[in-house]
Subunit: 229 residues, 2 copies
DNA sequence: AGCTTTCGCTACGACTCGTAGCGTATATCT
DNA sequence: AGATATACGCTACGAGTCGTAGCGAAAGCT
């Protein structure tokens, strides 16, 4: 359901919750023969995150991951086309941890999502992997789609949820034009996620409560509004 | 003057304009002997950009760049420690082309800088290189500093210039507290640059006039302000 | 001149890549 | 049960890249 591309696949009979995570090269169409080991899947993805922490993106090798997972190198290549695809799937689960508790106001919810996303970017696996796979995806449309389904959509849910709540509270208007509303949501998503990523990885400065408060003030009130304080 | 790290160096007697670009491994302290060829420098950086267009970041190799530049591989390693450093310097010059003509209003200036930066990110050299070197820099402090001096500072100038103009026009207040003003400028920079990068490379959707207008409206007026149109 | 450094070239060991072949294990289909 | 089909671990392989070393020749500085 999450995997739309032909080159990815999900086992048909799994609890719905984890289907979204299983994105790998499909086994030949027929359903005969020995099935792929789910333990191997988990071990490989876990080993990949571990290797990302220890080695970073550029020094991570398929052979090293296979050794850490206690698995043959050929087993990796049977499931993933390469390093990029493997890392996307390995990091994707981190984004499942993102949640957006209702903090009572739009401003508080924005600060909450900013700090949550920032905390995720503090983790070395995510830091080193995210930018790297995005860089790879600039020349690989399939990889871009995989990132969108495995990572971006998981983040975007938070924005949509936050907006829905704000509309119910009366803090934001319901937009009549659906396509315009969609464009607005995309815009807000790019602004929030982009700003946090840029602050954290490019400017390399902390996304703390103070910054989150300043950012939220700017996002809600705008540049020309008088700053609160 | 731009190169602050010990591991980088600039020739002492060059026109001030290009000093900022020359950031490479320094020759041994003494100033005797045959000087390094400036033609080789230019050829290598040009060949690097060309290779980025043809091959992208991941398939770009030092050997290939050397061949394109008509230079021995050892000549590259004498100047740059590795692929990351070389690519940062090769791409840095692209950011010199960024300019911010006075368009008469803060809104117009924001739209202008957004579209200029977006146009830069349309170039395949920049697309594939920027995220890759940022990803590398997450585990390399020296590389992070190099990126800051060679790339980030060049962008930030535009933000500072735009704010100065807006203050002169009376569109933005002069902030008394200097450190607070600096924090605000950093925030705006991360929001603008981050949003454009995220839209262009992660969401992989066009940064056109329509998006620039919507973004500018959001930045100036904020979420809670009624959108114009 | 004499000294110092760079340059192009070749060669090298170490590493990674992605694939192929083998024998064995584990599932489904008849 | 037996046949079939696939996954698995293992080993081995050619190809490509890395970063460095050594060489003789070239080019500037004092």
């Amino acid at each position: 359901m999450i995997c739309l591309t032909e080159s990815v696949w999900a086992p048909p009979d799994l609890p719905t919750g984890i289907v979204g995570r299983m994105c790998r090269t499909p086994p030949p169409a027929g359903r005969k023969g020995r099935p792929r080991s789910l333990e191997a899947d988990a071990a490989i993805l876990s080993a990949t995150r571990e290797a990302l922490v220890d080695l970073g993106w550029s020094k991570l090798t398929m052979g090293d991951v296979a050794a850490r997972a206690g698995v043959a190198k050929t087993t990796l290549y049977r499931r993933w086309a390469g390093k990029s695809e493997l890392v996307v799937d390995a990091v994707a689960v981190l984004f499942d941890e993102l949640e957006l508790p209702d903090l009572g106001s739009l401003a508080a919810d924005v600060r909450g999502v900013v700090l949550q996303f920032a905390a995720l970017l503090e983790r070395p696996e995510a830091r080193t992997a995210l930018m790297a796979v995005v860089a790879e995806s600039t020349r690989d449309e399939a990889l871009r789609a995989r990132i969108r389904h495995a990572i971006v959509d998981r983040q975007k849910r938070l924005v949509l949820e936050g907006r829905r709540r704000a509309q119910e509270r009366g803090e934001l208007p319901y937009e009549a034009d659906e396509s315009a509303a969609s464009r607005t949501a995309d815009l807000i998503f790019d602004v929030v996620a982009g700003a946090v990523v840029h602050r954290s990885l490019v400017s390399a400065e902390p996304v703390d409560g103070e910054w989150a408060r300043a950012f939220t003030g700017l996002l809600l009130g705008g540049l020309t509004a008088p700053s609160p304080g």
